[in-house]
């Protein structure tokens, strides 16, 4: 199967029909949400603390919605207008920007508590214009991302590397920009469930070095295809990660998640009629 990055630049590939496909296919939606949930877990934010987060390549807001359900405030960047228009129609809460991340980010130093990115980074390895040099675009991206994070902030990218050279290019660009960290590969022995996460640390608050989080499913033998782990959050029962002292794991419970999602949708007036002035989002006061 050809990789989308080889067919067209992202702003062309993610056109209106691709954008609507994304939010009408419940399987895609579930997969993106599951990977976001895992990325958020790898961010290991302070428990029960609403944070200010960046979503790189936010698309139609599938990843961002997981962040808002968890109580975070988010900002999303994407190069595709069609994807952002769908995000707007779905009334996501995050702030959306039309932006090419290969041009670097425009945020003041120490803006975000953390950053996630789901299924995007492989796009930066492409040269879609004669002026594009992937190495330079990656460098500019990671350097500006580093400075926009608070000290000790993390960035977690789920991505689909095409080959080991791409992994090497991406990881080394991130390290040159000042990040520490590396790759966490979940279910490494399964072709279907295997997922790559680049976990980056923008320094640490006390200058200590931070260990990489534990990958999932590393104990499964070669060739196992546990069907239940394809839907990661439904099937996977992560082993407790080793934590620093005093830190409690905040697990994302499936039922909890759905309840909050339902509540969120209800608040936005999705399945309930707009019968009260408190239902849905009230917009007023323009001038």
């Amino acid at each position: 199967m050809s990789r989308p990055e080889h067919t067209a630049p992202p702003e062309i590939f993610y056109n209106e029909s691709e954008a609507t496909k994304y939010t009408q296919n419940s399987r895609i939606m579930q997969i993106q949400a599951d990977m976001t949930t895992r990325a958020l877990e790898l961010l290991s934010l302070p428990p029960d603390e609403p944070c200010y987060l960046l979503d790189i390549g936010c698309g139609s807001g599938l990843s961002g919605e997981v962040l808002e359900v968890e109580g975070h405030v988010w900002v999303g960047l994407d190069i595709s207008e069609a994807m952002l228009d769908v995000a707007n129609e779905r009334e996501v809460e995050g702030d959306l920007f039309l932006h090419d991340i290969g041009h670097g980010l425009g945020f003041r130093p120490g803006t975000f508590d953390g950053c996630i990115s789901v299924s995007v980074l492989q796009w930066l390895c492409n040269a879609d214009r004669s002026s594009h040099v992937p190495k330079r675009r990656l460098a500019r991206f990671f350097t500006t991302l580093y400075s926009s994070l608070t000290r000790g902030g993390r960035a977690v990218f789920q991505f689909y590397p095409e080959n080991p050279d791409q992994v090497e290019l991406i990881v080394s660009s991130a390290m040159v920009a000042g990040f520490t960290g590396g790759l966490v590969v979940d279910y490494p022995n399964s072709t279907r469930a295997k997922k790559y996460f680049l976990v980056l640390f923008a320094g640490s608050p006390d200058n200590s070095s931070q260990p990489l989080p534990q990958a999932l499913g590393t104990d499964l033998p070669q060739g196992t295809e546990p069907s239940q782990i394809v839907n990661a959050s439904a099937g996977r029962r992560p082993r407790p990660e080793k934590r620093g002292k005093g830190q409690k794991r905040k697990s994302v419970k499936d039922r909890d998640y759905i309840m909050r999602k339902k509540e969120l949708n209800k608040r936005r007036g999705k399945d309930v009629p707009l019968d009260s002035k408190y239902t849905g989002r009230k917009r007023s006061g323009r001038f």
Binding site: Y52, I79, E93, D95, F97, H103, G106, T111, R286
Partner: protein
Amino acid sequence: MRLITHNMLQCPVKGCSKDNFPLRIEDAEIENADADFNPQFLKRMLDRIAWGALVQTSFSLGVAKLPESPGDPNDDEFLQTLHHVLLETRVKEGRMVCNGCGHVYPIREGIPNMLLQENEV
């Protein structure tokens, strides 16, 4: 775009490092959208807000009167005002202009267009 995020934005044009913040908002159409009041989040963000820029921006948009310097984070009335300015006030249409390099970032349907020309990066 909520004003909290405008307060974090600086001009991304390469080499633009003088007067690159805050981006001046022009011809704005403002929209108010209710958001859950979250004092914990506001307190967390208080240190990160560039106060002078926020006062200036909210004044120029005629949004709310903010004190010259940040109020007491345990004062509920102050937090409510801050909440309204930062999280319930959105710029829907208009443009942002960099005072340093003059780059214009148009805003359509609440989405600022931050795309740059290749010679700006």
